[in-house]
């Protein structure tokens, strides 16, 4: 069927004018759509803000470019468990990994040692790590006072350590920790460095660390080389997946059971974060959809009332030559302009609401989450509102189109 452009233009104009004939009625009708769209926009904005914040935090702890090679914890059966217990991450693995790729910036072994550290009559349950001089660089973690571990410390297996801010607060209060000796496993370690405090959520655990030269741990504490993990930092973010593949190949060539080794990189963390935020969006989306459907029903209700009220008007249009399709479009455009207006109102209040939410989070939860409204979110909102108008305007428009002119004009 063919609709001429003049009719189309007039129908659009009339749909627009119709909105302002009963302003209150229009406002009440579109409020459902507006609330739904506002919720959609605000949620998407805050969701995106949260996602970006987590990624930012990860960037800031230098985490995003780090690949971690570690022994798998639990195994499926005894056979596997035996293999894994026999399996170790050793100096050979370090050498192998450092030669596996030319895109590696630095590499650092880590041995986790459980236990309590003491100073005078104070004690602190921290995390003791044996590692090398590159750990700070890999974690993008700077020294506040003193110095970091050096090559010499490792070569001599010195009894020194570098501590995080929380260790300092617990053991030394506001005394200068440098030069103090802390006790760990019947041994004494001189504090040579204090690290900068990590303030943001994803990096706070670093503040609990006591870092020892890895050789010191091997010789004086564990008596053997068995790294908990080996951290590899790629030269840039973009190289991470390549380096990861190269490392994986190298590891598989040396280990009997390749399943005993797991390789983590932040790329996966980011991916799973993306999945989580997708899920979140999906559940927000379903709730929003329900609100939108309720809004759509409101529009349908108004349109049905409008069709009944304007039966004679439709009769007049038809008597002077309006075709069914012309009347259909007239009413469909009206439903669409209602829902679009609701959508626009929703977008505006959603942006405002998102900003307020971000402000509230900052004020009451002491957390900086921006409300990030993407063009995609706005386009989605516009699309949804128009779509709702079409879906719920369809039946009333069909009803209007089928009005019989003779009957319509006989009504008193």
């Amino acid at each position: 069927m063919f609709v001429n452009n003049v009719v189309l233009g007039e129908a659009l104009l009339s749909a627009f004018k119709q909105l302002f004939i009963h302003p209150l009625r229009t406002l009440l009708t579109i409020s459902g759509i507006a609330i739904g769209i506002a919720a959609l926009i605000a949620m998407m904005g805050i969701g995106e803000g949260t996602r970006q914040k987590v990624i930012d935090d990860m960037e800031r702890i230098g985490g995003t470019g780090v690949i971690s090679v570690e022994l798998r914890g639990g195994a499926m059966n005894d056979q596997d468990r035996d293999n894994i217990q026999k399996d170790k991450l050793t100096r050979e693995d370090m050498t192998l990994l450092s030669q596996a790729s030319s895109l590696i910036m630095s590499i650092s072994p880590v041995i986790h040692v459980p236990g309590m550290v003491f100073f005078a009559d104070l004690r602190f349950e921290g995390q003791v790590y044996g590692t090398n001089q590159f750990y700070g660089e890999i974690r993008d973690w700077q020294v506040e006072r003193g110095r970091f571990l050096t090559r010499v410390d490792l070569d001599y297996a010195s009894n020194i350590c570098v501590i995080g801010s929380e260790v300092r607060h617990n053991l030394f209060a506001d005394q200068d920790p440098i030069g103090k000796k802390i006790h760990f496993r019947n041994d004494e370690f001189t504090v040579v460095g204090l690290m900068v405090e990590r303030n943001f959520e994803a990096g706070r655990w670093l503040n609990k660390l006591i870092l020892l030269p890895v050789d010191t741990v091997e010789k004086r504490i564990t008596g053997q080389t068995n790294y908990t993990q080996i951290l590899v930092k790629a030269d840039k973010m973009a190289s991470v997946s390549i380096v990861r593949d190269q490392i994986e190949k190298a590891i598989q060539s040396r280990h009997v059971n390749p399943d005993s080794i797991v390789i983590h990189s932040q790329v996966e963390v980011i991916n799973s974060l993306e999945r989580a935020s997708m899920l979140m969006r999906f559940s927000f989306g379903s709730i929003t959809l329900i609100v939108l459907v309720v809004g759509g029903i409101g529009i349908m209700n108004l349109m049905l009332v409008s069709v009944t009220e304007r039966t004679r008007e439709v009769g007049i249009h038809k008597a002077v030559g309006a075709k069914n399709i012309d009347i259909f479009l007239l009413f469909l455009f009206e439903a669409m302009s209602l829902s679009l207006l609701g959508g626009i109102l929703g977008i505006v209040s959603g942006i405002q609401g998102g900003r307020f939410l971000s402000f509230a989070i900052a004020t009451y939860l002491d957390n900086q989450v921006a409300c990030i409204i993407s063009n995609k979110a706005i386009m989605l909102a516009v699309f949804f509102s128009v779509f709702i108008g079409v879906v719920f305007g369809l039946y009333p428009a069909m009803k209007a189109a089928n009005i019989d002119p003779s009957k319509a004009l006989s009504y008193e």
């Binding site: 003049v6 008007e313 007049i316 002077v320 030559g321 069914n324 006989s410």
Partner: protein
């Protein structure tokens, strides 16, 4: 078949459906020639409006043949019927049937919108016919700001703006006082003089007397004319 006939009805019947059937028209056969000025009269409920709606392509007869300008109307699609209402036939109602929220000008422009005529040209043509019916000074008035006679003149302007061959008027003077009604009939007569075929309904003998031919309907049948 009459060669110069613009309207040719052959045994038209119309039955309103629903719960109780009403045989509103029974075996109506009529032939109306080009340029005729015809009055239809008859008692209330005799079927005059039903006949007018059929002639105006707003109702499809239950049975019988309707030839309009030598072409059969039966079997036309709804959109072809709309096309006929738009350009071949003008219709004037007893109760004016103007759009209440539109100015006189906008009301007269309405058929031209559906004819696909845009902008200035449409406005100029509407102004033209409004001037012709003597309402040049009232174009921006809304129906509730016009007298009955003025409303009916707007309705006539709207009916003739797309230059139809046929003008149908169902009791155009029914809601007007005698003097105003006479002026309306005079206006129709003038249009007939220009060659338009005009059929109007009236019970008023004085109005009917103005026509060059009168058709009388009683109990759904033509009894004279």
């Amino acid at each position: 078949m009459n060669k110069s006939a613009v309207i040719e009805l052959d045994n038209i019947c119309y039955t309103y459906g629903g719960g109780k059937q009403v045989f509103a028209l029974q075996n109506i056969s009529l032939s109306i020639g080009s340029g005729e000025f015809v009055a239809i009269s008859g008692p209330s409920g005799s079927g005059k409006s039903t006949l007018m709606h059929i002639l105006g392509c707003m109702l499809t007869p239950t049975s019988g043949g309707y030839c309009l300008l030598a072409e059969e109307v039966a079997g036309r699609t709804a959109s072809q019927m709309a096309q006929i209402r738009n350009s071949t036939i003008g219709f004037v109602f007893q109760n004016f049937n103007l759009l209440p929220r539109a100015s006189a000008l906008k009301n007269v422009e309405l058929p031209l919108i559906y004819a696909g005529i845009a902008g200035r040209k449409r406005k100029a043509r509407a102004l033209d016919v409004l001037t012709r019916v003597g309402l040049a000074a009232r174009v921006s008035h809304h129906p509730n700001e016009l007298s009955g006679g003025e409303k009916q003149r707007v309705a006539i302007a709207r009916a003739i703006v797309s230059k139809p061959k046929i003008l149908l008027a169902d009791e155009p003077t029914g809601n007007l006082d005698r003097a105003t009604g006479k002026a309306i009939i005079a206006m129709l007569k003038e249009l007939a003089a220009d060659g338009m075929t005009i059929i109007y309904v009236s019970h008023d003998l004085e109005m009917v007397a103005e026509a060059t031919r009168s058709i009388h309907i009683v109990d759904s049948r033509v009894v004279g004319g």
